[in-house]
Amino acid sequence: MTFGILLLGTPISSYGAACSLDWSKLYFKNFEGDFEYNPQTKKMEKYYEEYHQFKGGNIPVIVTINIPFKGDCSDFKISEVSVFRKIGKQELPGGEEEHSKHALEPNNLKYEDVPFQTVKPIIKRTKGEVVLEKFEVLKGLETLGKNQHAWKYRYEIYYKGENGVDNKKVHEVDLPLVH
């Protein structure tokens, strides 16, 4: 009986079924933060914005990837994260009258074959989130050719799944171009 309990307890106490990552709630957070005015304190204070997309005019320099979880994820491991860009012209398709009524990404764009960055992230766990540090965002646009824009980033996250099996999670982010 005692032996049976020990067998059951092993996977629970380590990484395994008890660690549940909610990939659907993955978001990005400004790593360095911006100073913002706090009307309560009447001071400029650091503010760390959260992002679900990187819109023109509000593109962070460096972000973390934050993944909410439940359970014990103390042994959760990520081997690396590769970031790919989907590149097209840095111009809004159609006339200006069209810019307010549909998704603006041009059709038939393809991701680059080679990632523009590959990160072996530092992993932190805080307040029910796995936090992966740290990913360049702005640089991915600054290093493009003339009049080129990355309309999407694709994050390929390689991690050890249950029973130590290698797994990959893909997360795409829009980078809407604005005037």
Binding site: D34, Y37, P39, I59, V61, H99, H149, H179
Partner: protein, 392 residues
């Protein structure tokens, strides 16, 4: 063909020099040797006939008659890329005061004062830099002592276009009308210097907008703070940067601190934008409500969030940009139809600007529910077509 809108005429140099105690449009004007009643250059050439005669007088007075063709007024305007309209009369009045308050040095490079004046005018005209509402380099002492009054006066009239007209022709007086007051313009010039001329897009080096950073006192004095400045999308043409600073000064007087976002990268692409490439666009956060301390600040907000968005204060911010450079505004994106209406009405009623490039100046565009996008015109001066269109 319709004449140029009266409010766009620049009255030229008043006879006997500037009188800072009398409104510009009420001063008497020397008309050269002939009377001139036209409002300015028009495509039908009717008024040009008189101007052309004045032109001959003017050129002779300045010793320039042999240096340029004496065809017709219209031809002259075309050849030298002289726009066919000027500023509001209020602006002209203020500029006249400015010139008197701070005359630019003349007689540089060993040239006579007369040649210096004429040269300045001619060079700027040739370069297409005469936008009709930029101050002209004139020393009021010269005007006042009368030595070159005839030639200078008439020449300026030729270049700056049109007849001062009567008060009625220019509509309501300063007291009845909004817009930038001469006092405000004087204060701006004292602090920021002269408003730089527009140059063709991409033809000049961009400059960085001074950053008040996290010093709240400096922000309130400048009337702006900068967000996202770590991305270094903070460069603009000298005129754009001047306009932002000037608008900030006007807002500071009203207790408003605006949030300035992306302008342009110093060189190369400006990430995330289809525009913002040549330093002539600026993004601004929405302005929030006025607090108990009488201050209002921009913040992260959307137009559908009444807890942080104040339409009236955001209008004040846009109005400051319009007042600083009314004819330099190309478009204003903000996804609040009520605010668009306020802006377009202000442009129409205060500056007689109805449409630019066939569209309302203020309009909606995807992605502009959380900020205002202002574009300044991408060429040095308004084209004749734009001026005519704006006057319709």
């Amino acid at each position: 063909m319709s004449p140029v809108s009266p409010v766009q005429n620049f009255g030229g140099i008043p006879q006997g020099g500037f009188d800072i105690t009398t409104p510009f449009y009420q001063q008497s004007y020397m008309m050269g040797s002939m009377g001139f009643t036209g409002r300015g250059f028009t495509n039908d050439g009717v008024n040009c006939l008189s101007v052309s005669n004045n032109l001959s007088t003017a050129m002779a007075g300045l010793g320039l008659s042999g240096s340029m063709p004496m065809t017709s007024c219209q031809q002259f305007a075309d050849d030298y890329n002289i726009p066919q309209a000027g500023p509001t009369i209020e602006r002209a009045n203020a500029l006249a005061k400015l010139r008197e308050a701070a005359p630019l040095p003349l007689g540089e490079g060993g040239k006579s004062q007369r040649d210096s004046i004429a040269g300045s005018i001619m060079e700027r005209a040739k370069l297409g830099q005469f936008d009709g509402y930029s101050p002209i380099t004139v020393d009021p002492n010269i005007v006042n002592n009368g030595r070159f009054l005839s030639g200078l006066d008439t020449t300026c009239r030729v270049f700056l276009d049109g007849d001062a007209g009567s008060e009625d022709e220019f509509g309501p007086t300063r007291d009845d009308q909004e817009g930038l007051s001469p006092e405000s313009l004087l204060a701006l010039t004292a602090e920021l210097g002269e408003q730089p001329l527009w140059r063709p897009a991409g033809s000049e080096r961009k400059v960085n907008l001074p950053n008040p950073k996290n010093d709240i006192d400096l922000q309130e004095k400048a009337g702006y703070y900068m967000y996202n400045y770590g991305d270094e999308i903070t460069y603009g043409t000298p005129r754009t940067i001047y306009n932002i600073q000037a608008a900030g000064k006007l807002l500071a007087e009203q207790g408003i601190v605006m949030g300035v976002g992306d302008i342009s990268k110093k060189t190369g692409n400006t990430p995330g934008h289809s525009e913002h490439k040549e330093g002539q666009d600026v993004d601004l956060r929405l302005v929030g409500k006025t607090g108990p301390d009488g201050k209002a600040r921009s913040a992260r907000c959307r137009v559908d969030n009444s807890s942080c968005y104040d339409r009236e204060n955001t209008f004040k911010m846009i109005k400051a940009f319009i007042d600083v450079d009314p004819y330099g505004i190309d478009k204003i994106f903000i996804n609040d139809s009520a605010l668009q209406g306020m802006v377009n009405t202000y442009l129409r009623e205060t500056y007689s600007i109805n449409r630019v490039n066939g569209s309302n100046v203020s309009r909606s565009c995807a992605g502009h529910a959380d900020h205002v996008h202002i574009s300044f015109k991408r060429h040095a001066n308004p084209t004749p077509d734009e001026m005519m269109e704006a006057a319709r």
